[in-house]
Structures are given as structure tokens and as C-alpha cells.
Amino acid sequence: MRARSRDDFRHLLLLLPAGIVFAAFFLVPLGQLFLIGGSGKSGYAGYADILVHPKYLRSLVSTLALAAATTVATLLLSTTAGLFLVRNAFPGRALLVAMLTLPLAFPGVVIGFMVIMLAGRQGLIGDVTQALTGEKLVFAYSMAGLFMGYVYFSVPRTVLTIMASAEKLDPRLEEAARSLGASRLRVLADVILPGLKPALLAAGAICFATAMGAFGTAFTLATRIDVLPMTIYTEFTLQANIAVAAALSFVLGAVTWAALALARTASGATVAAAG
């Protein structure tokens, strides 16, 4: 498909108008978003104001922290589980793997709903802790609940990615390392984890992007949770502060896009975010 003569594609020129419409379709909203972000009282300095205004800065920092924590926890859990599932054949393994994909089918609202059922005021965790310690543990309506929901949502996809990658690792690599005297732990550190690196980067980036942008879960848990998508929603819908909402949106998009681009460059793979 590379070195073909130009006129081979004469008929494909017909697609050019489609290409232009397509580019416009994408670029116009983005451009407009950026322009509106600079349309507030302080003009384009509005972008800088975000970093100065404590309310917005807090929202940005806590969202980043939440996304980072979710990513780390998800990768730790998923790597352990993924390696375990690839390396061990046990009855029910296929069923377990199939069930892993179930949470993927639930929207953020339902995930939030599940968090409340588990860690809410009438939740299972509350009941169990009350029976055990006399005190009711309730953390659904906070960052901890959001963290739990995001991890719950992200682990399945990450486990699947890691399993697919682990299955493709050449077992000979591991055997060669062992023949050279490497212990199990060294094999893990020197062979297996480096082999999984592209998958870990890709899955981590998607996990991070999802956690940065998810809204349904946060909204279901509590309207007071101070993450960026909630702040944007509040500024836009409830306070009609459109310029700030646009600037925040643009910053959120840029941070997420940078994370995805970084992972893409590091892993060489195509990484697509979920929102």
C-alpha cells in the first residue's frame, strides 16, 4: 500500500470532502472551547487563574491525586491477579475470567450505586464492621468511595490487558534467566515485569484517563465531591460560569491527553482513553 502511483487513488479523492468535514467536526468544538476559556473577565489569564484560585486548584490537585492513586492500586491488584490467572490452571478459571468482564458493562452511575450498597449507610461493609467492632464504617460518600468505585471499574479491563500480554511472553526468556541462575524474584523483576511494561503503561494510562474524567460515579455518591468533572458541571450548569468551566475543561483535557500521549510514546502502542 506504500509505493503506489498517485492515480491509483484517483477515486479516493472523492473522500476528500468527507475528510474536510471530518476535520472541521473535530476542530471547531475544540477551538471554540479554547476561545470560550479565554472569554471571562480576565481573558486568557483565566487559564492561569485556575492555578491561583484555591477552589479550582484544590479540585485539580485532588482529581490528579485520585486518578494517580486509582492507577497505582489498579495496576498492583491487576498484575497480581493477571499473573495468577495466567500461570495457574484451576477449575472455574474460565468462568472467573468471563465474570471479570461484567463490571465493564455497568455505567458509572451503577458503579456509584454499588459503592453505596457496599460502603454506604445501609451497606454491607457497615453491617459487617458494626457486628465486629461496634462501629459502623461508612465511606461511600467521599473520595474513598470514589476511589473504590474507580478501582472496581478499572481492574477488570486492566487484568484482561495484562493477561493478554502475559500470555504472549516467551516462556523461554524466563527459562534462560533461570538457567543463568536467576531466582524467582529476579525473574519477576528482570524478565516478567519488563515484558509487561507496554501493557502496564497502556492500561495505566487508560485507567488514569478514566479516573480523571468519570462523572456518573461521583455524582451518584455525593454532589459535594470535589473532583474536576463535578466542578466543571457545577460552574457550567448551576453557576453559568461558562468561561471558567471551559478553561477547566481544557486543562482537564490537556492533562489527560498528555498522560495518554506519554504512555503511547513509551509503549509504542495505540492507547485510547475511556470517559
Partner: protein, 349 residues
């Protein structure tokens, strides 16, 4: 001369292997490999040759009762990490996250040798394989032949007690395979290490092995020097697997082998028989009492020789001729096979 190897004699005693699904990959096997010997295990896929290698390496355990001895010491329960053997795989199995030098030094790094020793030993090994210039390359910048040289250097850097090679040349193209075969042959002889070389390629086996073990269905079909195996195959399987072998049905009687296309001299006890012979042992001759009648089916000019496929009373017979003559399809010719070149594969089934 670089000190490279601490060669051991390897013995297998009644090593069999049954896989979890019940397949018997290996029938009880006894095998003796002398210190410094190059033993080639040859056979088609699924014959148990790789299983045998993995048992020697410590990557697979033999079924209970089997024993692996290194210089008389029972290493059966010793895991590969402490067996001190070098392994070279078909897929190279180089660590993609390390440079060439780091790959070669890895065994010493694991053993916590000083950095200077790691480096000098790695460079020494790379020099031995004549790839010093590649020391700082990434693995994905190397060709297949270079990768396999790095894998050999890495395996030898730990001064292993034996070198195990699992189809090391199979992934390379024909020309490179031959070059590297010559190099490996030189290396094994120079280093004098006990080497076990698994392959499905009979040309490789013939060229490299001090002795060849031909395996079939988890059993040893024949053990011997390349010449013994080529000249005196003990079974139809070995005869078919090594080189090209013609098989002509007929009857042995009164010192001759009689076929529908004439008879040739052969002293064998009388009876229905099958005479086997190699393409290079038969010759196209003028008509005569000791020649078989044949018709040319095809002829291929191969450069250094011409390969003829003849029809001898309905049987296809391959003959290699180094004569510069040209034959045409359908031409009638006569075929002589010297009696000492005829191999008896037993009575006809």
C-alpha cells in the same frame, strides 16, 4: 585460550516423562554423554528430543524413578537455577530490556560478581563470538545470526558444566544456517564443552555430532556416529529420516536381486526383500547384465549435480549424477548399483 567450560559427563538413567494429560512423551531412556562430547539428538517433532533436553537442563522433571547424573552426582532434584548449564533456544530468548553486553553479563550479575569482572568477562565472550562491536547495541537492532551468537556468549559466560542447544539454527535462513553451523562446530571443538544439540535437521546432525541419537516416538531408534547412521541405518525409520533413500522391492535369489526391471548382484539369503540404496551410489551405465532398465521421469539441474527421478518397474528411484550429460523426459537408461552399497532393511512386509 579462555577458560570457558567445566565439562561434565552426563548420564540419564531410566528417565521417562508422562505429561499431565497422560501422554507418554518419553519411554524410559538411558543415555551416556562423555565429558566434552557433542551429542546430537535428532528426530521429527514430537519424538521426545526436546523433552530429553529439558530433563537434562532441569526444566522438566523425569517421572519418579528417573535419574540425571552429572559426573556421577545425582542432580535430579537440583533446579535449573543451580544446575549450572548453559541453554540456547531457537527463539534466542535474549532479554529485550538489556543491551548485548548486559545480556551476556546477566549470569554474573545474578551471581553478584564485581562490575569490572562482569564487564571484562562479557567482552571476552563477545570477542570469542567475534561480535565485540555489537556490545552496546539493543537486541532489536541485531540480525537473527547475531542474536544467536549473543545467546551462545551469554550461555558460556557462566562457565557452564554443559551446553544445551534446542534447535538453535531453525529460525535462520539457509545460508546463515550453514555459516553458523560451521561456527558452532568450531566453537564446540575449541571450548571442549559437553554439548547436547537437539535438531530435526539431519544435515545439521551429520555435520555437528560426534554421535547422533535418532529418536522416534519417545524411544531411541539408533545411536552411532554420523557415518554409521548414514551408511548402516538399523531401521526403515532411520533410513528414511537421514538423507534420501531409494527402496526397490524384489526377490533375493542365487546371489542376485531380481526385480521386474532386471537383476543386479547381491548376496543375501533368498526371499522377498527390499533393497535400499542412496541416490549417489547408483550410476547410469550402458545396457548390461548387471543393470536395471529404467525410464527418466524428471531431471533437475542442481548445479553441482543433476538429480534424476527414474521409473524402475513402477518404483520411483532418485539418482544423483555428477556427469555433465543432459537427459530428456522418457529417455530409457540403465541403472547399476554396486552390491556393497545395497542396504538390507529386512524382509518385505
Amino acid at each position: 585460550m579462555t577458560e570457558v567450560a567445566r565439562s561434565v559427563a552426563i548420564k540419564l538413567r531410566s528417565c521417562s516423562k508422562t505429561f499431565p494429560d497422560g501422554t507418554k512423551a518419553l519411554q524410559p531412556l538411558d543415555l551416556d554423554v562423555g565429558a566434552g562430547e557433542t551429542l546430537v539428538i535428532l528426530g521429527p517433532s514430537g519424538c521426545g528430543k526436546t523433552t530429553t533436553l529439558r530433563i537434562i537442563a532441569g526444566l522438566d522433571e523425569p517421572d519418579p524413578g528417573g535419574k540425571v547424573l552429572f559426573d556421577g552426582e545425582d542432580v535430579t532434584p537440583v533446579p535449573i537455577e543451580r544446575r549450572d548449564v548453559g541453554i540456547v533456544f531457537q527463539s534466542y530468548a535474549l532479554f529485550p530490556n538489556m543491551s548485548v553486553r548486559e545480556n551476556v553479563a546477566y549470569g554474573l550479575r545474578v551471581r553478584r560478581r564485581p562490575a569490572a569482572e562482569q564487564r571484562s568477562r562479557a567482552d571476552e565472550m563477545l570477542a570469542m563470538m567475534r561480535i565485540e562491536a555489537l556490545a552496546d547495541r539493543r537486541i532489536d537492532q541485531l540480525s537473527g545470526g547475531q542474536r544467536q551468537r549473543v545467546a551462545l556468549a551469554r550461555a558460556l559466560a557462566i562457565r557452564p558444566r554443559a551446553l544445551l542447544l534446542d534447535e538453535p539454527l531453525t529460525a535462520l535462513d539457509a545460508k546463515l544456517r550453514e555459516t553458523l553451523r560451521v561456527e558452532i562446530d568450531g566453537l564446540l571443538r575449541r571450548v571442549g564443552i559437553t554439548a547436547i544439540y537437539v535438531t530435526h535437521d539431519q544435515a545439521e546432525a551429520m555435520a555437528l555430532g560426534d554421535r547422533i541419537v535418532v529418536m522416534e516416538h519417545g524411544r531411541v531408534a539408533q545411536i552411532g556416529s554420523p557415518r554409521e547412521i548414514y551408511r548402516a541405518p538399523k531401521s526403515r525409520f532411520v533410513a528414511d529420516f537421514i538423507g534420501t533413500m531409494n527402496k526397490l522391492p524384489g526377490r533375493a535369489e542365487a546371489g542376485r536381486f531380481v526385480t521386474a526391471a532386471g537383476s543386479i548382484p547381491w548376496s543375501r539369503e533368498a526371499g522377498a526383500a527390499e533393497a535400499a540404496f542412496r541416490p549417489e551410489d547408483a550410476r547410469i551405465v550402458p545396457a548390461g547384465p548387471d543393470a536395471l532398465r529404467a525410464t527418466v521421469t524428471t531431471s533437475f539441474f542442481l548445479g553441482d549435480r543433476t538429480r534424476l527421478v527414474l521409473d524402475v518397474a513402477g518404483t520411483a528411484v532418485t539418482v544423483d549424477s555428477s556427469e555433465r550429460a543432459a537427459w530428456t523426459r522418457g529417455e530409457a537408461v540403465h541403472l547399476a548399483v554396486p552390491p556393497q552399497a545395497l542396504i538390507d532393511l529386512g524382509d518385505r512386509a
